[in-house]
């Protein structure tokens, strides 16, 4: 049972954590990334994590641009490499609470190698991968998570590549905490992020987001609200058990906490090694 005091949504005011002087923000109307940002800030607020002790390390993409709006220590790094930067930062400064924001292209294509090793290594940080099935920032090109049924600006005749399941990848690479949630359910997403924060080690959360303006328009997926509602049809919360059957579609994406195992955190492990042992 989760015994945390309930804090109502009405009490949470995201504006106090934002660099409001940078507003209006650059996100397109209805972009799912905004909801992911709200869930992140809400989780930080409920966990009482000080903005001074927080470090947000971002990759390059629409997802990576979110960091600049957070009134904290924010790092907009290079495309695909935020996990590498965050690894150095987290090891050098274990007193900081390190959160990585990355996109499906940033994390799974150019940064895929860093993801698998971050999962394996288990340095204490939380990685939020905002999956909108596309390269939003660069104009809607195919990404490793684009469904075979969709069209993009670089797959005008359809996509011949299968979808990468980021959570399975993270699990196989050894991540001790893996979760997935949709932006449709911001409170549930917030709770998942809080659990990821609580995990001592590397935690990976895939957030199903929507690129309304480019991907949605190209594939005629409707307005933002329709895109969000369709998230419901394609996911299967863990509360419904693991059997793939009604009322959710077979082969749909499981959500919630998908992996939680006890592993010794990297730094703790290193410090436990005997320096007088073999050199």
């Amino acid at each position: 049972m989760n015994m945390e005091p309930h804090i109502s949504a009405e009490e949470f005011d995201i504006r106090q954590f934002m660099r409001l002087d940078l507003f209006p923000h650059f996100l397109c109307p209805g972009c799912g990334h905004g909801m992911a940002l709200r869930a992140l800030m809400w989780a930080l607020w409920e966990q009482n994590i000080s903005m001074d002790k927080l470090a947000v390390v971002c990759g390059i993409g629409c997802s990576g641009r979110l960091g600049a709006y957070i009134d904290s220590n924010t790092f907009h790094t290079t495309h695909g490499r935020p996990l590498a930067y965050a690894t150095g930062l987290a090891l050098a400064r274990p007193d900081l609470h390190v959160v990585v924001i990355t996109g499906d292209g940033d994390c799974l294509a150019i940064g895929g190698n860093h993801l698998i090793h971050a999962c394996r290594r288990n340095v204490n940080m939380t990685c939020l991968m905002l999956n909108n099935e596309v390269y939003g920032m660069t104009g809607g090109q195919v990404s490793p998570t684009t469904s075979p049924t969709r069209y993009t600006t670089t797959t005008p005749y359809g996509n011949a590549e299968p979808v990468f399941d980021a959570c399975k990848l993270a699990e196989a690479a050894g991540a001790g905490f893996v979760g997935r949630e949709v932006t449709m359910q911001v409170p549930t997403l917030k709770d998942l992020i809080k659990q990821a924060f609580d995990y001592d080690g590397f935690s990976f959360v895939e957030i199903i987001s929507d690129c309304t303006e480019i991907f949605g328009r190209k594939n005629q997926l409707g307005e933002s609200a329709e895109m969000i509602m369709s998230q419901k049809a394609s996911t299967r919360p863990d509360s419904y058990g693991t059997r793939v059957d009604e009322p959710f579609r077979p082969n749909s994406l499981p959500t919630g906490v998908l992996v939680k195992t006890d592993r010794l955190e990297y730094r703790a492990h290193q410090q436990s090694l005997n320096p007088k042992g073999q050199k």
């Binding site: 960091g67 790092f75 907009h76 930067y85 690894t87 150095g88 987290a90 400064r93 190698n113």
Partner: protein, 380 residues
């Protein structure tokens, strides 16, 4: 009381690691590559004992990223590599230059291009070390010629990097990296070790990239309440990206002007027998040691030869070289590549005298007699 003198017979690569630790380096991230790996070996052995962190990353891109991450966290950090890895580091190296994250990169050069000759020396990264990453950017490159100098130049690399918030490359080659020499490892005077300038003002007044007279903005340590933003996008004084070309011009202008302004602090060179030298040799690293031998024989035979050796390769000490070449009729440029340093020498001398290259680009070092022969040929 006299300071304890500590002499030891070690390799150039080990000297690099020990110099780094003496300079305060407490974070190393790297990826194994010949002929640089002994730097990582030494760091992995020594860092835990001084409270530092060693990590072997999944590749050179990640190593460079982790080093910058640690540096932005406030810890002196370095990596070490060779040609192929140095190529991979370039994008993040440019990021370090752009966000002004102090860091040191040791590049132990092999014969190249591509995988080249991993266990043989080369000097093929003279231009890549200056222009390897895209766009205009500041960078300092130091080129030691001995194991002792690897030690002292690595310390200087950290000091310059911290003082000026600029990435510094220590350009070594396989010969020096693996050379065994007796080195004075007396720890440097703590007062000579430079720490970066930290922001101490009221966070409300803090401008992360303030344009000040000395061109070096104070850095905010994450956790100290400044909540700064760091980005490789062109940013103004606030640290946030800007599309305003005027602000962009001022910010990049300061960045590029920074090294010119501090030139006096950065430049270092050796000039031997230059005053009357009609034949001037300009070279770096192990090739300079061959040149020193050559000059002795040439002088013994009455040939007026001299050596100009930039210890700081980039920014190139151009005025000093011009002065050294005051009487020169010919400049000889020995280098273990097909001709790179000679371009800079020609730019600096601007046609005032003849230039001759002595080149080896397939894994052999240049011998004193080759340099001598080139000098005799131009003076005969």
């Amino acid at each position: 009381m006299l300071a304890k003198v500590e002499r030891k017979n070690i390799q150039g690569n080990e000297a690099c690691a020990l110099g780094a630790i003496a300079a305060g380096c407490r974070f190393f991230a790297g990826y194994p590559i010949t002929p640089s790996s002994e730097i990582a070996h030494t760091m992995s052995r020594e860092l835990p004992g001084v409270g530092g962190t060693f990590i072997q990353m999944e590749d050179e891109i990640a190593s460079m990223g982790a080093v910058i991450g640690a540096s932005l966290g406030g810890v002196k950090a370095m990596t070490a590599t060779s040609g192929p890895g140095f190529s991979l580091k370039q994008e993040n190296l440019g990021y370090a230059a752009m966000v002004e994250a102090p860091c040191v990169i040791a590049n132990v050069m092999r014969g190249g291009p591509s995988t080249g000759m991993p266990t043989r020396p080369g000097q093929g990264d003279i231009m890549q070390s200056r222009w390897g990453t895209h766009g205009d950017h500041p960078i300092i490159v130091l080129a030691p010629e001995s194991v002792g100098e690897v030690y002292s130049e690595t310390i200087r690399a950290f000091n310059l990097s911290e003082a000026l918030r600029v990435p510094v490359v220590v350009l070594i080659d396989e010969t020096i990296g693996h050379l065994l020499e007796t080195v004075d490892l007396t720890p440097p005077d703590p007062a000579s070790i430079i720490e970066r300038k930290w922001a101490t003002c009221d966070p409300k007044d803090y401008k992360p990239y303030e344009i000040t007279k000395d061109r070096v903005p104070a850095m905010a340590r994450p956790g100290d309440g400044y909540r700064a933003h760091t980005t490789g996008l062109t940013h103004d004084e606030t640290g946030f990206p800007t599309q305003d070309t005027e602000k962009g011009k001022n910010a990049i202008g300061r960045l590029l002007d920074k090294l010119e302004y501090h030139k006096g602090k950065i430049e270092s060179y050796e000039a031997i027998d230059c005053d009357d030298a009609e034949t001037l040799i300009v070279t770096i690293g192990i090739s300079a040691r061959a040149a020193k031998r050559a000059i002795k024989s040439l002088r013994a035979d009455g040939i007026k030869a001299g050596l100009f050796r930039p210890r700081t390769l980039w920014p190139f000490p151009e005025e000093a070289m011009r002065k050294a070449a005051g009487k020169a009729k010919t400049i000889i440029v020995p280098e273990m590549n097909a001709g790179q340093l000679i371009f800079e020498v020609e730019r600096v001398i601007a046609g005032k005298c003849k230039t001759v290259g002595v080149n080896r680009y397939a894994g052999d070092i240049i011998t004193p007699s080759e340099i001598e022969a080139a000098a005799r040929k131009v003076t005969s």
